[in-house]
Amino acid sequence: MTSYKNMPIGGRALQPGKSEEVETGDWRSFRPVVDPELCIDCMSCWIYCPDSAVIVKDNKMIGFKMTHCKGCGICAKACPKKAITMVEE
C-alpha cells in the first residue's frame, strides 16, 4: 500500500481517471448478461450505465466490466431489444 507520506493531502486526486484503478464491483447481487444475438449495438446501455461498466470496442458492445458493475439493472431496463437479463450472482 502507498505510504501516507506519498499521498496528496486532503484526499486530493492529482490525476484524472483514477477511479478506473479502483475495483468497486464486489458487492453486486445480480449481474447483467447480454445476448449478442439480440444486441443491435445501439449503445443505450453504455449511455445509461451510471458507472463505466459497459465495454465498447470498435463501435460494438462487447460485454460488461465486472470490476465496476454494481448490478443495478439500469442497462437491462434501458435496452430496447431486451437483450440484457439480470442473473442472480
Partner: protein, 386 residues
C-alpha cells in the same frame, strides 16, 4: 500607527482590512456581528478587494469558505455559539480537505436554556474537529491573533483551518486601548497565500473532496495528526517573527509569576487577566502563586504545559464550559500533560462563568485559598446557591 480605543470585534475587522483576504463569507450573529459589519464598511468603501458574500446561514458560510479556499482564495469568516454549532457538520470537512480557512469565533454560551452571553461552550464543543485554536486575553491579542492566524493555517506543513477565539462581549464589545501595526507591515508579514493544488489552477486539474475508503481515510487522518503536530513549531516561529514587527512576545503556554510558584491556576481567555490580578494580590501577601494560559489550545501544547507545571504542588484548572457528565475539557487536557510527570501536582477542576455569569477576582481568590488550605476538590461547580 497611533494607539486606538477600540472593541475586540472592530480590532479583528481592522486586522482583516490590513490583510485584505480574497473572500469573506458573512452571516451575522451576536457577539460576532460587528466583525463582518465593520468589514463590510471597508468593502463598501473600496478599502479592500475582498469578494464579500452574504450567505443564508452559517452552514453555507463555512461551506462557501471551504470551497473558495479549495479554489485557491484566502478566505475568512466569523461566527459564535449557535452559528458555530450550525457549522458543525462542515467543521471536520474543512480541516480534512486541508483548507486553511481563518475564522474568528466570539465565544458565547450554547443554548439552551437560551443565553447569548460569554462562555466557552461553543469552542470547546468544536475542539476535536481538526482546527487550530488560539485564544486571546484582551483586545490587543484579539488583533494580534487575527494578524498571525493566516500565517499559521496556510503554512505548508500545517494547511489546516484556524479559529481565533475571543470572549464574547467581554472582548468583542468592550473598548480597550490597542496598538495596531502599519498596514504595510501586516501585508508583508502575512504574505501571499500559496495554496497547494488549487482547483482554479487550470493547467494542473485536480479533484478535491473524493470518496475515501478505510485504508485511505485512516492515512489521511494520520496526515492531519502530523500537520497538527507541526502547528506547534510553526506557531512558535510565527510568534517569533511577530515579535520582530510588533515588539510583543507571545508563548504557546503563557506563564505569570510561575518560576517559584507552588500553586497555579490554568485558565483560557480574558479570565487570564483577572487571574493575574489575583496572583498580584496574593503575592503581596507572600503566597507563592502563579497563573497559566495555553494561548494555543489546539494542537494541545503538551510538552510546554508539562514544563510549566513541573515542580508545582497543585494546579487548579478553570473551565468556562460544563460537559455534563464529564470533567472540563481544559482540565482533561491538563491532566494528560501530568501523566508522565514524577510527583505531579494535584489537579482540581473548577467550572465557572457559564452563560455570562460574572467571574470576579474575589471568586478566583477562593480557588487559591482552597488550594492553600488543602481543601480543594477534584470537581467544583463554582458559585451555585445552595
Amino acid at each position: 500607527m497611533a494607539d486606538l480605543a477600540i472593541n475586540g470585534d472592530s480590532a479583528i475587522a481592522l486586522a482583516w482590512k490590513q490583510i485584505d483576504p480574497d473572500v469573506c463569507a458573512a452571516y451575522p450573529i451576536t457577539p460576532q456581528t460587528i466583525i463582518v459589519e465593520r468589514f463590510s464598511d471597508y468593502v463598501a468603501d473600496g478599502e479592500v478587494n475582498t469578494n464579500f458574500v452574504c450567505v443564508e446561514s452559517e452552514h453555507s458560510a463555512l461551506t462557501l469558505c471551504t470551497a473558495s479556499s479549495s479554489a485557491g482564495a484566502r478566505t475568512f469568516t466569523a461566527t459564535a455559539s449557535q452559528g458555530l454549532a450550525y457549522m458543525w457538520e462542515m467543521l471536520p470537512i474543512t480541516s480534512a480537505m486541508r483548507t486553511p480557512v481563518v475564522m474568528a469565533v466570539a465565544n458565547r454560551a450554547l443554548s439552551g436554556p437560551i443565553n447569548i452571553n460569554n462562555d466557552h461552550s461553543d469552542a470547546m464543543a468544536a475542539r476535536d474537529c481538526g482546527w487550530v485554536m488560539i485564544f486571546a486575553e484582551n483586545v490587543q491579542e484579539a488583533y494580534d491573533n487575527a494578524v498571525m492566524a493566516p500565517r499559521i493555517a496556510e503554512h505548508h506543513d500545517v494547511q489546516l483551518p484556524i479559529m481565533t477565539n475571543i470572549d464574547g462581549f467581554i472582548l468583542t464589545h468592550a473598548v480597550e486601548r490597542m496598538t495596531p501595526l502599519d498596514s504595510k507591515d501586516v501585508k508583508s508579514f502575512v504574505g501571499d497565500f500559496k495554496p497547494l493544488y488549487p482547483l482554479l489552477d487550470w493547467k494542473n486539474p485536480v479533484t478535491h473532496g473524493v470518496m475515501d475508503g478505510p485504508e485511505y481515510y485512516y492515512k489521511h487522518k494520520y496526515q492531519m495528526v502530523e500537520a497538527m503536530e507541526n502547528a506547534i513549531k510553526v506557531t512558535e516561529k510565527v510568534f517569533k517573527d511577530f515579535k520582530k514587527i510588533s515588539g510583543r512576545e507571545y508563548r504557546l503556554v503563557e506563564e505569570y509569576m510561575c518560576d517559584d510558584a507552588e500553586f497555579v491556576a490554568v485558565v483560557l481567555g480574558s479570565s487570564y487577566g483577572t487571574m493575574k490580578a489575583v496572583v498580584d494580590e496574593l503575592r503581596a501577601e507572600g503566597k507563592k502563586v502563579g497563573a497559566i494560559m495555553p494561548r494555543l489550545y489546539r494542537p494541545w501544547p503538551d510538552k510546554h504545559m508539562t514544563a510549566a507545571l513541573k515542580g508545582k504542588k497543585a494546579v487548579a484548572v478553570l473551565d468556562k464550559h460544563a460537559p455534563i457528565g464529564a470533567y472540563g475539557a481544559l482540565y482533561a487536557d491538563v491532566c494528560t500533560s501530568l501523566i508522565d510527570m514524577k510527583d505531579a501536582p494535584a489537579a482540581y477542576n473548577y467550572i465557572y462563568g457559564l452563560g455570562g455569569k460574572d467571574a470576579t477576582a474575589k471568586d478566583f481568590r477562593t480557588i487559591f485559598e482552597d488550594m492553600l488550605a488543602g481543601k480543594a476538590a477534584k470537581y467544583t461547580f463554582m458559585g451555585v446557591d445552595e
